[in-house]
Symmetry: none
Subunit: 208 residues, 4 copies
DNA sequence: GATGAATGAGCTTTCATTCAT
DNA sequence: AATGAATGAAAGCTCATTCAT
């Protein structure tokens, strides 16, 4: 339906930027369907018709936001890991970075969390988002493969499973942060999760 | 003036049940907003007006579904844990039970996963659902407290954090199951998650 | 569409009566359109379907109420006037009687006041009510004609105009009672109206 | 996907005015409830959605009409009375002006007459209309008070009662004009009413 | 005598979108 | 670059009415 991403030559750059920021926030918190052009326009201080000056349709606004957000998250993740570091250390840093991002840019994380269900609900989103999605997964998978090569991981666990495990934990944490917005509780939780990763949470009784 | 009114053939009793089942499925997969009375009615084989014979509003249909689903999930969880068993064993069983439930009744799990965001999006849902929610959390918390009393848990981890950790893992798994509907991948993932719980995934090198 | 008036052989006489009373009240205060079968039935303690046991349609309920009410008002008016009394005395008594009726049976007067506009709004009501309406007018006209015969009235005023004048005053008073439900204010007003009838309100200055 | 949106030919500016005129007429003759957005829009030559471009809800259309109409009636009344004239003369002129208005703008008078019952039927109308209502009453009351100061009125009649009396007569006349749309009959009636005001209708026999 | 289940029509309102200016 | 006026479609909901039981 469109050239992906932000329109290249938008003169009112400022307006366009504000539109994207507001759309990100609204798509993330209200959802795609509940985000109406009217409210979006009002928040930015323009009319609904003006939106169509920048994007050919509501879907295209969504896709543009998606590109921005994916970029940001990928960069955050990439900046938090070192190829030559141990995976447990990398995971620990990733969790911290993403937790920080959740605090600084709640809309970004919330948006990412919502993409999969929105894509399922609105086929046009799926179609538009599919070709550019999966970047985050690829980063994680690469990291897992390296760790396995280096023998840092139980050999019964495949790279795929390991990546899935990370996905589960990161997604679970993301969801948690959005549902309970409680900094102290979150930081305690993260401490516990790190203990879990190094196997120091449960003391299995010897007679088990 | 003459063809209106009740049709000659109308099944009768279980319409309400079919309505609830169909609503559960649709609320879970399409979301509250995208579930229209019309499609709902068509799926059940009635008209939109007939819905209002059973429920005073769309929100009330949602709340009724919520009650049913919460009941089912709570019973499933409760049936999978034994008060006197070790927590690691209980968690393991819970994960299996919920994975099974996801396969047998995908709509139930999907619905539960979606409640929090729907509640955030639609204040009326929040208002209606709040007073009866939190049952699952209480069950988990109780289990965690018992485990701590028995000394099965690292003393640096509070009951609250432990419960949050379980929430994160279960929610993450639930989400995973919904996004990637792949039985083999899921079963491998669950195996890996169980290894994680007993601290046997990562081999932290001693020189770290 | 129907045999006018109350159905002759309604077994649940009690229910039917309560239905008519409640309908009178609701038609009068809420209006025909805003009076729904559902609320009507609820007020009487039956289901909407049961209404159709007594009356073939909503319009027929209205017509039945109309018959009852017209009867009551006509009897009240007739009881308040004496053929051989002076018209000014008769008017005075009529005003008092109707004021009393307004207090005792507000719904009756309110209903009468609303008939004309309802008839205009709903052609079916007009059609059903027209043939039996006009009774009140005929009573007033007769009274006016007698007064003129007896020379009690300024000869520049026709019987028709006199009747219209009475209609205006009675309707205006009825409306007033319904809008401002204030007994003291009403009784003062009626006193003033009686003074008006005998020409003792305004003192026209002689130099006019 | 392509024929939607604004049509090529659309008149533009005065749509709102035409909407208000048509709404006034329909609210007055059909009533608020019976005036549907659809018919209203059709009369004006637009779609129902376009109404919401000008007013946020049906109630707001009503309130806008009310403002307009109240203005017009107040101006008409004020233009027909002179502060220094005798009250009987002012009343006479008022009656004539309003009768003329009824002929020229039947919808205006009909609307005014209906406001009180509509307000009673629809609480939202009451809430919206209350703060700006009562202007007409204040004008009448002021006139009555002045007349009493000047000694033009029987001292047994309070200003309030006098105002109520005028209200009754004017409302009764307004109603009459709407029910029987008959110019000749109305003009005769008005003549008779004027005689009534100067006490020249009934000849009370001295031996009574 | 009365109910429960159901209907078709219609209501107010919202939405994404269009297009002349 | 942006607006105001307008649209077709569709949503949630209500209503008078029907009919088997």
């Amino acid at each position: 339906m469109s050239k992906l991403g932000r329109p290249t030559n938008c003169a009112g750059v400022d307006t366009c930027q504000r539109l994207l920021i507001e759309a990100r926030r609204s798509f993330a918190t209200e959802g795609f369907a509940a985000t109406t052009n009217k409210r979006l326009a009002q928040s930015v201080g323009i009319t609904t018709a003006a939106i169509y000056h920048y994007f050919p349709s509501k879907i295209d606004v969504y896709v543009a936001v998606f590109s921005d957000v994916q970029d940001l998250v990928c960069k955050t993740i990439e900046a938090s890991i070192r190829p030559d570091a141990q995976i447990s250390e990398n995971i620990s840093n990733m969790v911290d970075s993403l937790a920080l991002l959740t605090v600084r840019e709640p809309a970004v994380v919330a948006f990412v969390m919502s993409v999969s269900s929105e894509a399922h609900r609105h086929p046009e989103i799926l179609k538009a988002v599919l070709p550019v999605s999966g970047r985050i997964g690829r980063i994680l998978l690469q990291m897992c493969e390296k760790a396995i090569e280096r023998g840092e991981v139980n050999s019964n666990v495949s790279a795929q499973s390991l990546e899935d495990m990370l996905t589960v934990i990161l997604a679970g944490l993301g969801r948690f942060n959005m549902v309970y917005r409680d900094a102290r509780r979150t930081s305690e939780l993260i401490k516990a999760m790190k203990l879990l990763l190094v196997g120091e949470v449960f003391r299995v009784s010897s007679n088990a």
